[in-house]
Symmetry: C2
Subunit: 346 residues, 2 copies
């Protein structure tokens, strides 16, 4: 179990009981001892039914995601870090500055409280680094065998310029498609964590909050048409969805898409396609060709975006299609997979 | 299973599979066929990473709750209605007008899609009646035996007057405590639904959205100091928390607290205390004595608030205590229960 600093001594034998979800004395104690000290801020602290935020002169933006990843710890992060990054990134992708997050736990009876405390600590650190505050929360407990350790929901509120139009409706024929780094690491890292004896791989999840690099792109004056983070379904699914929403073609060059050798080799062994594998700190940026050079210069300033590359362009040839052109110039259509290569990856 | 109108024919044998949570083709199909048609609105429809809301000249207020009630249908409602009412009520209790809700599903593999569709229909009807829009959502699926049919998270955003101060800090010695109706029905109705052969009771949950009565109280000019809905832990827990937060005494009169005969008789048989039983459509209102008459006149206009009564007052005698005075004038301290009388009630 990960080391963490916790405001109270937690006996390693202490476990979550149904009474911790009752709303009574044990719920209060769990919140006061384990959750509140790590997340304290002026909006959360009153612990009222709802948190008082602010007026928004800019446009408020809202998102939600539930996280059911298994296992809850993996190389590069845990479900707590994931729950912050995932929701922060959804706001950032719309050009919004993430500000406030809610935090809902569904805990399984029998969970070690020390495991929960480690997750709360990770939430605290990730939220602080991203510059967001947890302002309101909720904790429920279900019987052993009716959940799986920890499920988390985070919903988020951000603010974006009233004139900002970033979204699929802004994508134009001729735009370039940039990916912010190498793909497939999160899915492979989680899979390896599920069966560490079967997989001896150095792959670490790409999990990261993307709001700071997005802010830098906006401040640089890049004319961002659209962004999309590459989560469940990976790069291929994101590009297919963008092609369908915009009724344009996303024409990708296979050899230009960065994939780490260790990721590719795991995929080769298992017959998986890295294009469809989940990422948690990667996104595609759709911008006019004239902005490409400056955008790449911004990416180069961020450690986790140094591998950013132009991987394709938007055309009107085949509306609604995402296509992949191989080294020999042969192009094929990318289709949505029916289901998952790897379930419960986020 | 409840009857519902669904935009597409759903074969009663169709079940949720892990692939429905993949982010791929089956996820898309589930959203397009079952979820989106029932909830359609201008902010949800683009299905981007986040929903564009609005500017807030008033103060934005945020809340979150996860719902894990078992069974998912009970006399008077289901988990869908609960997920809307619970979150709407948390906003209303702060004096905010509820506007936008997010909707996160965690589904168990093997769930009948028709059951999900019925819940979505209930969400749609309840949201419409409350005047709120579902603007963003998320669907995850966990393996059979790692969840329990349907868990829901709803987070909510509302707006309140910038000058509004409703909250525990406004409670004053001398204030009167009004309960909006008879207590204990939700908990008893859910318990009976768990074992219908053991309990033959006509009790129906009090579940209801409270935002319209709160708006009426505000429009009437009632000087609302504080409100709290009586969910997990019931009336007693709510009053104890308010007493502790305000560092004042909540002195309640046992004979003034309305409890339906059918609820009391179930409690008597099982040795439960209706004061601690969950409600989902009841709240306490803390106001100056001078406003009591007008407040009761407002309550009388709402079908589910006709039993509203003054049940006690706030004093400075025993700071942080909630006390209950019986018919003989004997007063005792109310304590938080360690755990639940009835787990998974919401």
């Amino acid at each position: 179990m990960k080391q963490f600093s916790c405001p109270v001594e937690i006996d390693s034998n202490q476990i979550i009981t149904l009474a911790h979800g009752s709303g009574g004395r044990l719920t209060r104690q769990l919140i006061e001892d384990v959750i509140k000290p790590a997340l304290a801020n002026v909006r959360l602290d009153p612990l009222e039914d709802a948190a008082i935020l602010q007026q928004f002169e800019q446009t408020a933006v809202m998102t939600t995601d539930s996280y059911v990843i298994s296992p809850i710890q993996f190389p590069g992060g845990d479900i707590g870090k994931l729950a912050i990054c995932g929701t922060v990134n959804d706001l950032a992708m719309m050009g919004a500055t993430p500000l406030y997050l809610s935090l809902g736990f569904i805990l399984e009876e029998g969970l070690h409280i020390a495991e929960l405390a480690a997750v709360v600590q990770s939430i605290s650190q990730t939220a602080q680094a991203a510059g967001v505050a947890i302002v309101t929360g909720d904790t429920k407990v279900v019987e052993k065998g009716k959940g799986d350790k920890i499920f988390i929901n985070t919903s988020g509120i951000g603010a974006r310029e009233n004139t900002c139009k970033i979204g699929t409706a802004e994508i134009r024929s001729g735009d370039k498609v940039i990916v912010s780094g190498d793909i497939g690491r999160h899915g492979v890292a989680v899979m390896a964590a599920r069966d560490p004896q079967a997989f001896d791989t150095p792959v670490i999840s790409d999990i990261a909050c993307l709001n700071h690099v997005v802010t830098a792109l906006i401040e640089e004056g890049i004319a961002i048409h659209c962004m999309r983070d590459l989560t469940r379904g990976g790069l291929a699914t994101a590009c297919i969805e963008l092609a369908q929403s915009s009724a344009l073609q996303f024409d990708l060059g296979e050899t230009t898409i960065p994939v780490e050798e260790a990721v590719q080799s795991v995929c080769d062994v298992l017959g998986l396609d890295p294009l469809y594998i989940a990422n948690e700190g990667r996104f595609v940026l759709i911008i006019p060709e004239t902005c490409v050079e400056r955008a790449l210069a911004v990416f180069a300033r961020f450690d986790n975006c140094k591998a950013a590359k132009v991987i394709g362009e938007v055309t009107e040839d085949k509306p609604g299609w995402a296509t992949l052109r191989n080294a020999y110039g042969v192009s094929r259509k990318l289709d949505l997979l029916a289901g998952d290569q790897l379930p419960r990856i986020c």
